[in-house]
Point group: C2
Chain length 209, copies 2
C-alpha cells in the first residue's frame, strides 16, 4: 500500500493547486502540473477529462469547505440568538474568517489562489464559482438585512461587493505590506489583526446612513 493508485488523483489536485497559485490558472501548463505530481502527462485527461475539468475540481475542493463552514457558522449564530438577529460584527466575522484562516493553514499559496479564482473570467471558472457562491450569498444577504434593518436590498448587494473586494485585496497583499501590520514576527499574527480591521471597516460602512 505504498502508492495506491487512487493517490494519483490527489497528487494532481495538489500540484495543480500550487501551480495555479504560482503561475496563474491559465498560464500553468499540464506539463508542469503532471511533472510536479510525478504523474504522466496523460493523467490529467484521464482523471478530469480536460484542463477545465481539473480547474473545476481544484476550485470545488478549495471553496466547498470554506462555504460549508460559513453556512454552519451562520446557522449556529442564528440558533444562539433566539430572535434570529445576529449582531453585524459577528455576522461579518462568520463570513470573513473562514477565508482568512487560510493564511494560517500552512499552505500559504491558498490566499493567492482564491484571489485568482475570483478574478478569472473564463466560463469554466466563472460558472463554477457562481454556482458555488450562490447559496452563501443568498444566506448572508438575508441575515445582513436583519442585522441592519435600514439597508435596502440594492445597498446590501453593493456593499457586499465592496466587502468582498476588500477581502480579496487583503488576500493578494504582498508580503512587504503584510509585515507592516504585525509588530512581532509570527506569521499567523497578521491574520487576527486583519480580520478585526476588515470587520470594523466593513461594519462601519454597512451601518452608514
Amino acid at each position: 500500500m505504498a502508492t495506491p493508485p487512487a493517490e494519483t488523483r490527489e497528487r494532481l489536485l495538489d500540484a495543480a493547486e500550487l501551480a495555479f497559485a504560482q503561475e496563474g490558472i491559465q498560464q500553468a501548463s499540464l506539463r508542469t502540473i503532471t511533472a510536479a505530481a510525478q504523474a504522466n502527462l496523460a493523467a490529467v485527461n484521464y482523471h478530469f477529462g480536460s484542463k477545465d475539468g481539473l480547474i473545476r475540481e481544484v476550485l470545488q475542493r478549495l471553496v466547498g469547505p470554506i462555504n460549508a463552514e460559513r453556512l454552519q457558522r451562520v446557522s449556529d449564530a442564528e440558533a444562539k440568538y433566539a430572535d434570529k438577529i445576529v449582531p453585524l460584527e459577528e455576522l461579518l466575522r462568520h463570513f470573513l474568517e473562514p477565508t482568512l484562516q487560510m493564511f494560517a493553514s500552512g499552505r500559504s499559496h491558498i490566499p493567492t489562489l482564491i484571489s485568482r479564482f475570483h478574478h478569472e473570467t473564463s466560463p469554466a471558472v466563472a460558472e463554477t464559482m457562481a454556482a458555488v457562491l450562490e447559496p452563501v450569498v443568498g444566506r448572508f444577504l438575508q441575515a445582513l438585512m436583519r442585522s441592519v434593518p435600514s439597508l435596502t436590498i440594492e445597498r446590501a448587494l453593493l456593499r457586499g461587493q465592496f466587502m468582498v473586494g476588500a477581502l480579496l485585496e487583503t488576500l493578494s497583499l504582498n508580503p512587504e505590506v503584510l509585515k507592516l501590520m504585525q509588530p512581532a514576527g509570527v506569521d499567523s499574527l497578521p491574520r487576527l489583526n486583519m480580520l478585526d480591521e476588515l470587520v470594523t471597516f466593513c461594519a462601519a460602512g454597512f451601518r452608514h446612513e
Copy 2:
C-alpha cells in the same frame, strides 16, 4: 493623410487594449492583436520590442492620465482649503472618480482592463504598476492622515487597500449586478450612484474608532 505611417502604433495600442480586456493580458495573442489592428505580426516587435513592451505601453497610456488627474485634483483641493486639510469625503472622491469616470467614457472595456492590470502578477505588469502608482499612493496617504488625524500609518495603508479592493470589485461587476443599481436604464447613471456609495462606505470605514 488618409493613413500616415505613425498611426500603426496607435492602432496597435487600441487593438491591444481591447484584446487584453476581452481575453486577458497573457491570453491575448499578438496574432489576434495585429490582425485587429490591420497590421503585420512583426509590427509589435518592431514598435515595442516584445509583447511585454506592448503591455507596458498600454498600461502607461491607460493609467498615466488617470493618476495625473488624481494628483491635479488633490493639489487643487489643498489649494482651496487654506489649512491644507481636505474633508475626507472630498479626498476620497478625488481618488475614486478619475477611475470610475471610465464607465462613462464610451470605451466600456476599460474598467475590466484596469481590474486585470491590478491583479496581474507577471513582473512586467507588477513592476510598471508599482512605479506608476507609487507617487499617487504617497500623496493620498499623506492627505488621508491629515483628513483623519486619529489614523495611524499602518491603519491608513491597510484601509487604503480595502478601498482599492472595493473599487476594483466595482470595476469588474457584471452587468446584471449593475442593472440592480439603477432604476432608469441610462448607462451613465450607475456610475454616479456607485461613486457616492463607494465614498460613503469607505469614509465610514476610515473614520471608525
